[in-house]
């Protein structure tokens, strides 16, 4: 792919003993993109990030981040990236300002520009007036934005966000994503891992990883088109019975609960009537059947079902 890609990996593999945590993954991320790495816990997301940051040696495969080799030029990568983990690794007994100042020292932000840069970050994180407050006393959303400020203190071109919104309220999450979009407009590339499917919608492209394998890497729209067959939303009086009946039908590839409704993925066009009939015969009163566009969750479920 493109040689000017910010991240470019080929057949990246990491084995821990018998366990293959990351299995032959290849993808690339361009400048200014938001790339979401989507997958359940233990699917290999963190292992991949650690290899990309140059702190974990791949077993095989190659990768370049910011043009540097991930195996040999880890130190150069570390200077050029920002990293924010799900635990918002702040020093809780340090104030907002002291946390920022610490990372400014770590990333060697020139002393003459330090004050100005820190004030910029405080404003960006919406923490003006709270500079002297201890980080441990901030709410989850503020801690999250402060952690982002710390990771961005040296204006890196690439930010790794590892589950950045875990345990944060929905409004703060929304504000956080607004902030992230602002950064991409300045040309910053974002590599974000998440297991929130709705959050992945913010990304330009999504990589879906499951059991160490990259199942797909595409835009959200492309991913949704990858679902073969038709997706039906079924409203009925007995969803549990409905699911039990649908699971036995060869025309149905997949069934999931969606609230009180049932989502069924059909293999061919003509099965809609068959579904209605089978449910009726099983004693389920069907209120409504609607064809729907698949959500990312449906895509993910269908991809995994396809792989298994």
């Amino acid at each position: 792919m493109a040689t000017d890609a910010i991240i470019d990996v080929r057949n990246l593999t990491k084995r821990f003993g018998d366990l293959t945590a990351v299995d032959q993954i290849s993808f690339s991320v361009g400048a200014g993109e938001i790339f979401a790495f989507l997958g359940p816990n233990g699917s290999g997301k963190s292992t991949t990030i650690r290899m990309l940051c140059g702190i974990l040696r791949p077993t095989s495969g190659t990768g370049r981040v910011l043009g540097f080799d991930i195996e040999r030029e880890g130190e150069k990568i570390k200077r050029g990236i920002g990293y924010m983990s799900q635990r918002f690794s702040l020093y809780e007994d340090l104030t907002v300002w002291e946390n920022l100042e610490f990372y400014a020292g770590i990333y060697n932000v020139p002393r003459t520009r330090r004050r100005e840069r820190l004030e910029e970050l405080v404003a960006m994180a919406g923490l003006t007036g709270r500079e002297r407050q201890l980080a441990g006393q901030l709410s989850g959303g503020w801690q999250q934005r402060l952690a982002l400020g710390c990771a961005f203190v040296h204006q890196p071109r690439l930010l790794f966000l590892d589950e950045p919104t875990a345990g944060v309220d929905p409004i703060s999450r929304q504000e956080f994503w607004t902030l992230i979009h602002d950064l991409t407009r300045q040309g910053v590339t974002i590599f974000v891992t998440t297991h929130y499917l709705d959050e992945a919608e913010h990304a330009n492209r999504i990589g879906m990883i499951h059991l160490g394998k990259l199942r797909a890497a595409a835009t959200p729209a492309e991913l949704k088109r990858m679902v073969h067959g038709r997706l039906l939303n079924i409203a009925c009086d007995a969803p549990f019975e409905a699911v039990a009946i649908l699971q036995t039908m060869p025309e149905v590839r997949n069934v999931t609960f969606q609230g009180n409704d049932v989502h069924a993925l059909l293999t061919d066009e003509g099965a809609e009537e068959t579904i209605r009939n089978s449910l009726r015969q099983g004693g389920v009163v069907v209120h409504d059947v609607q064809p729907i566009t698949p959500s990312l969750e449906d895509v993910f479920v269908s991809l995994i079902a396809g792989a298994e």
């Binding site: 940051c53 702190i55 130190e75 570390k78 200077r79 990236i81 990293y83 983990s85 635990r87 690794s89 702040l90 020093y91 809780e92 007994d93 340090l94 002291e98 100042e101 610490f102 990372y103 400014a104 020292g105 770590i106 990333y107 060697n108 790794f160």
Partner: protein, 376 residues
């Protein structure tokens, strides 16, 4: 890069300043330990409460009782009227020692017969028992001839030779034999070992617990910068605590430094190097502060028991004494007592300085290597 190291050290000092537990450990604990070990733990046994059953009640028996009391080792608690009352006083814990003088004690002496006096000692504390027995026989040996001679003279039976040997001991370095002199070097060696070890280990493990270590690893911080960033601040706190202890020892107990301050400082730093190394080593194998504390105790207990901090090494069985040569505190304590109390220099201390240097440098090098490997 100096900017990164500076940021690490600065941050650590802010954290030390904000953490009451660490502050207390640095500023209050040394003085508290000093007071505790200096005043409360008095290893010198004297003023033992003593019960007397004096059946003779003559001039000679009263002279003997006075001699006991004047020795300073025995305080006469009271007089019993029977043997069983004596034993009961010891059973009840009212007395540690009971003295039983039989009837016609003076007469026996005057006839040149051997006087029989019974001493009953509470042996539940062997230290007390041995001191009491030793002190009593000293008193009897030293004063008996005198008492007999005086009696004979009083009754006009002539002067008996009561020459004997007058032993006048000279106690060097600690003439009043105060425990504080013995304990202050001990407290300093304890602080330099455990405060430094625990604080260093905690400082690293806390970052692991909090997740900030994970964050630091993906920054350009090198592992040696991280290590020095932890070691330097706790060198300063250990030095502060040591100076505080020495000042307190000087003001409260009058224990100064007889020898070279410079040598004391240099060798303390050498010893501290080993403690910081042990702290780093513990931090590489502990996931939580509780684990680190347990590991620290693993080093602490043998050091306190074996180094001669509280119990003299001379009385230990051969095998245990050899074992005590494995803890660095043994050497440092010897050095510290040498410099502080005796005022001696390297000429006498080198046999202890050598193994200490070997231990400190080896442990620090090993832990530095292990630390860098674990972090990277």
């Amino acid at each position: 890069m100096i900017s990164r190291l500076l940021a690490m050290v600065r941050k650590e000092f802010i954290q030390i300043r904000r953490d009451r537990r660490t502050l207390a450990m640095v500023l209050i604990m040394p003085v508290m330990e000093l007071l505790l070990f200096g005043y409360a733990i008095d290893t010198v046994v004297d003023h033992l409460s003593t019960m007397v059953y004096d059946e003779a009640s003559d001039v000679e028996s009263r002279a003997l009782i006075a001699a006991f009391e004047n020795s300073g080792y025995f305080d006469i608690e009271g007089y019993a009227l029977s043997q069983s009352e004596l034993v009961e006083a010891i059973d009840a814990g009212r007395a540690k020692v009971a003295l039983h003088i039989p009837p016609r004690f003076g007469d026996q002496l005057l006839r040149g017969q051997q006087g029989n006096v019974q001493l009953i000692i509470d042996g539940s504390d062997p230290n007390v028992a041995s001191t009491a027995s030793f002190a009593a026989s000293s008193v009897v040996q030293a004063r008996m001839a005198e008492i007999t001679a005086a009696s004979l003279e009083r009754r006009g039976l002539g002067r008996a030779a009561a020459a004997g040997i007058d032993l006048r001991p000279v106690v060097l370095y600690n003439p009043t034999m105060s425990s504080a002199h013995f304990m202050i070097p001990g407290v300093i060696s304890l602080i330099l070992l455990f405060q430094a070890l625990i604080l260093t280990a905690f400082a690293v493990v806390r970052e692991r617990e909090r997740g900030t270590l994970e964050q630091l690893i993906v920054t350009p911080v090198k592992s040696w910068e991280l290590m020095l960033g932890k070691v330097l601040p706790y060198t300063v706190t250990a030095a502060t605590a040591t100076i505080l202890t020495m000042l307190a020892g000087w003001i409260l107990f009058g224990v100064g430094v007889a020898g070279s301050l410079l040598l004391l400082g240099a060798l303390s730093l050498l010893y501290l190097l080993g403690s910081l190394g042990l702290g780093l080593l513990i931090s590489t194998v502990s996931q939580t502060q509780a684990q680190a504390m347990q590991m620290a105790m693993f080093f602490m207990i043998p050091s306190i028991l074996l180094s001669g901090f509280m119990y003299p090494r001379e009385t230990m069985p051969f095998a245990i004494r050899q074992l005590s040569l494995l803890t660095p505190m043994t050497y440092f304590l010897y050095i510290l007592r040498g410099i502080m109390l005796k005022g001696v220099g390297l000429r006498f201390l080198w046999p202890s300085v050598l193994p200490l240097a070997l231990f400190s440098i080896a442990v620090f090098a090993l832990s530095a290597k292990r630390f860098q490997k674990r972090i990277a």
